[in-house]
Symmetry: C2
Subunit: 215 residues, 2 copies
DNA sequence: CGATATTTGTCAACGGTGTTGACATCGTGC
DNA sequence: GCACGATGTCAACACCGTTGACAAATATCG
């Protein structure tokens, strides 16, 4: 019987990443966690990158389940919030999104769901595609920027915000008047709040593209 | 006289990245390009990460110069397009944006410019901060997603699009009806076009937050 | 100028990485 | 039972970022 399977490897890899962080994750550590020779992994994945993609897809499982059906906006909003959360929890997802189109199961499900919602909302094919790309870009960008912060404890995170704001406040007020004046207002709310604001404004703008003259 | 300076090192590093790509960039290759021992670099930068940040800031030079003054939307639009272009040309910028707030000169200049435009447009401090974060998130996300494609030749890139669309078209039409139906419409226009659409819709949404009852 | 102190470049080395090829072992189909 | 392919093991390759000890060059000061 095969002791190792792709599923077991991915599960163990997620556990290892949870312990040591995605930066320090290595094939050798994964081998140790599996009580197997590190190179045995290469019997199931062609490369570490392929393994990372599988990890990414795993962490997207369930993301498109039980979404709100009240409106296309509510559905896409919730979906993008979940995608962002999955990315924050699992930075390995980054390697899945880099340039390559969705090829794995859960990715395809996300695309299908979003395209379906946009079409049902009344967007024509090209605009729906553009809107889809826009939502994904914003979601990935937010996750990328917040990823370092998300891996910190809440208190440490707050401490960072305090420091950053005082850094801005300490700038040369002549060269950077607005930064200084707004120092206290920067990084408002939580990172989740800021993303909610951003996606809501994007959805506002997208809604404006809909049926300019029908009702 | 000091043969090596931070400026020379950064310049050489950008050249090396241009040749071998940012993935393959290493301190040893940089040392070769400088005709110096690789470890000499550590006399000028504490770590490779610090060097990457300096590279990032260098590639942002001029990004905030001569921006359109016709409207806040035109200004922010152009600025974000330039930031995205800089990120695509120089993937090392990614390490600059990950979680850390702007600390280098050009980054601070970008923040200052954008905050100033938003305040002048009439946004209150908190909303201006939220809008700033939203624009940056979308810009970084688009650059992240497009970075792999941007490093390819135009013909190769087109070839990729063709393949991806046919991948979608070949999906199971029962499980992924919208993906199949819209296969030909996916990845519309150029990546630049798609970003322009996205930033315009986000700016639409942000404009909707302005003075709901004044004029 | 000379002597001294600090900065800068060189070298060897450490501990780590992803990956490959040769070899042994195991489970399964004939 | 045997052969064969899939899987696990081991040693090794070619890299990587980084550090410490030492030499050369430069700056500082009497």
């Amino acid at each position: 019987m095969a002791r190792l399977t792709p599923e077991r490897i991915v599960t163990a890899a997620i556990a290892v990443i949870g312990e040591v962080g995605s930066e320090q994750f290595s094939v050798r550590k994964l081998g140790d966690a599996l009580d197997a020779d590190p190179t045995a992994i290469y019997r199931h994945f062609r490369s570490k990158d392929e393994l990372l993609r599988a990890i990414g897809d795993r962490s997207l499982s369930g993301v498109a389940d039980d979404l709100p059906t009240s409106s296309w906006r509510a559905c896409i909003r919730e979906l993008s919030i979940r995608i962002r959360a999955a990315n924050l929890a699992q930075p390995a997802l980054a390697s899945l999104v880099r340039g390559a189109p969705p090829r794995h199961r859960n990715e395809l499900l996300i695309t299908e769901t979003m395209l379906g919602q946009l079409r049902a909302a009344g967007f024509d094919a090209v605009t729906a595609a553009e809107a889809y790309h826009a939502v994904i870009e914003l979601t990935i960008g937010s996750a990328t920027i917040d990823s370092t912060l998300a891996s910190m404890a809440a208190s440490e995170r707050d401490q960072n915000y305090v420091e950053w704001r005082s850094d801005y406040a300490a700038l040369d007020a002549e060269a950077f008047p607005h930064s200084v004046a707004m120092a206290a207002s920067l990084y408002p709310g939580t990172a989740d709040d800021r993303f909610a604001f951003a996606i809501d404004r994007l959805l506002d703008g997208l809604a404006g593209q809909l049926v300019p003259r029908s009702p």
